[in-house]
């Protein structure tokens, strides 16, 4: 299967594997666990096994506070693209908790929502929707590149004198 992970402007191989609640924990590798299972195993997992966490829409990011400094990756699930809770989850992780690892949007991730997700702090996207994949591969930009709110994405430049007006970073991330 072709790579699904879109990051830094292209599709790349994914070192991480999603692990459901029923699959046994491997001895080694890198797995993404649902929140409850992550919290159960984070203290006891062997050093050879890297853990990341999947937050579902109703999960409280505050639950990760004690573990953030050791987390390389947090995935946020959009079970339906129209459920916007994940945007707030991302902003809380970035702003309230200062998380600076990979923040990955998974699930129903669509082309028109990606620019909004980026501004809320997402840096990586798992893409399953074929037209979205084609558009990303073709470099099709759908963003309104002028912003009227401060956001989490690094490198946005002030635009004029207004307190909140921003333009994208000089080169898109």
């Amino acid at each position: 299967m072709a790579a699904q992970l879109y990051k830094d402007g292209g599709f790349v191989a994914d070192d991480w594997r999603h692990l459901g609640d029923d699959e046994p924990l491997p001895e080694a590798g890198a797995v993404i666990l649902p929140l409850a299972r992550f919290l159960e195993n984070v203290a006891t997992a062997p050093a050879s096994l890297k853990l990341a966490v999947l937050l579902r829409a109703a999960d409280d990011p505050d639950a990760l506070a004690p573990h953030l400094s050791r987390l390389e990756l947090i995935a946020v699930d959009f079970a339906k693209f129209s459920d916007g809770r994940g945007y707030s989850t991302a902003r809380l992780l970035c702003r309230r908790h200062g998380f600076d690892g990979e923040l990955r949007a998974v699930g129903d991730v669509l082309l028109d929502q990606i620019p909004l997700m980026r501004r809320c702090g997402f840096t990586a996207f798992e893409i399953v929707h074929a037209p979205t994949r084609r558009a990303l591969e073709a470099g099709h930009n759908v963003e309104v590149p002028l912003y009227l709110q401060p956001a989490e994405r690094a490198g946005e430049r002030p635009a004029g004198a207004r307190a909140w007006a921003r333009r994208p970073a000089a080169s898109p991330v």
Binding site: F81, S82, D83, G84, R85, Y87, S88, T89, R91, R95, R96, L110, L111, D112, Q113, P115, L116, M117, R119, C120, P131, R134, A135, V142, E143, V144, P145, L146, Y147, L148, Q149, P150, A151, A159, G160, A161, R162, A163, W164, A165
Partner: protein, 551 residues
Amino acid sequence: MYRYDEFDTDFVSARVEQFTDQVRRRLAGDLDEEQFKPLRLMNGVYLQLHAYMLRVAIPYGTLNGAQMRKLAYVARTYDRGYGHFTTRQNIQFNWPRLKDIPAILEELATVEMHAIQTSGNCIRNVTADHFSGAAADEILDPRPYAEILRQWSSLHPEFSFLPRKFKIAVTGAPHDRAAVQVHDIGLQAKRDADGNVGFTVFVGGGLGRTPMIARKVRDFLPEEDLLAYCEAILRVYNRYGRRDNKYKARIKILVHETGVDTLKADIEREFEEIRHGVLRLPQDEIDRITDYFAPPPFDAGADDGSLDRATAADPALAAFVERNLHAHKAPGYASVTISLKPIGKAPGDATADQMDAVAALAERFGHDEIRVSHEQNLVLPHVRKADVPAIFEGLKAAGLAEANAGLVTDIIACPGMDFCALATARSIPVAQRISERFGTPERQRDIGDLKIKISGCINACGHHHVGHIGILGVEKKGEEYYQITLGGSGDENSSIGEIIGRGFSYDDVVDAVETLVDTYIGLRETPQEDFLAAYRRVGDAPFKEALYGTA
């Protein structure tokens, strides 16, 4: 009024391009209808009963002559020669073709207009008192804050997929003409003893299936905290608002189910974290935006007494002045309400020619300013009283001189089953029949202030819950039935109307309204005691008895 700078111009053009591309991808099949729907809604495009509908934003109901002429042009070129002004101070075109919508948006962009966030589960067009900057009783003009909120909420990355729509209204006068207590966030601007600006903040009001009056969460929020506090409210709502049932998804349900104290504590906790951050409003930015709304240069010698002489000679003009003029803060000036409720016509509709006529009057006599009121009328906010006779003549020629502002025929009605896919009953024809029943000038004036509001389904777009007389059309066994509520109000003493009893058929509902009005006339203590005051004094018993007989 606010004028676009280069940033705003580029922003709107980029949004038009973005939407054009979205339409193209929808037609190419890259987006299915479910995926496309929120995108088109966020740009004001609905799929209605017979056609697409385009709702164009008129931020806080303020526009100029060139913008009104552009709306007339769109009505003439892309629609059937008219538009419909809405209860949220916007305008809807009921018959555009989807393929024309990108072209319409390009036309609108040339006069600094757009359709951004006039629909969808996002922060909607911010509304304000239609007499802002003009009313004699105003403490301060709320529009600079409405504009700041408009900018901040435009294409907000975090709040574009909320549980449900989110409506904000702002007023700067003690008499609330913006119905702030029936909005998701209602803001009442005021000054403290030292002259500092702040807001009383209401949260969780709304109409629809479950009408609720908003709860006060702040008595005096300092102006510099406005955006941070709104962001805190929105974040709490986005995270905890219900998403399992669209009819329970508005913030009013969250307030109701969580309890206002708990929810307020959540909001305050969130606010504390961000209040000193980048959203804190700098004074120079407030001043910069406020400068756009500077009042026009008023002529100190405007009050020449000529209007009094003209009304003495012309009873029709006198009636117009009595009903359709509102007290202005500058001596010799007034705000003129242009009624879009001619007797027997659809409330809120204006033809392209009428829009052009209003634009011309605004340019000639009104400092080039027009307002849309949430009661679906137009307003010239700043006119010299001496010019009122000429304006009245101009309005007569355009068929817009009905002297019925605030009277029984000044009815709010949703589009209803004639246009809307959700409606279960007609509302416009009911409004037209009531208007005809009470249409003579003498009878209307005798009845006095009376707000009738009509919705064609329980979503309550006609605001029937806050009508002094509210009418809700429902469908029962294939027939239209009309439920009547009494005692609703959407001002600073807001209340939700109460159902008086069993409903009436389409044929009988106008008779029932007449019975209610006659009952009121019979029991009022003086002609100055209006319908709502009388109802609040005597309760529903006499009205019930008149409608249904003694039980």
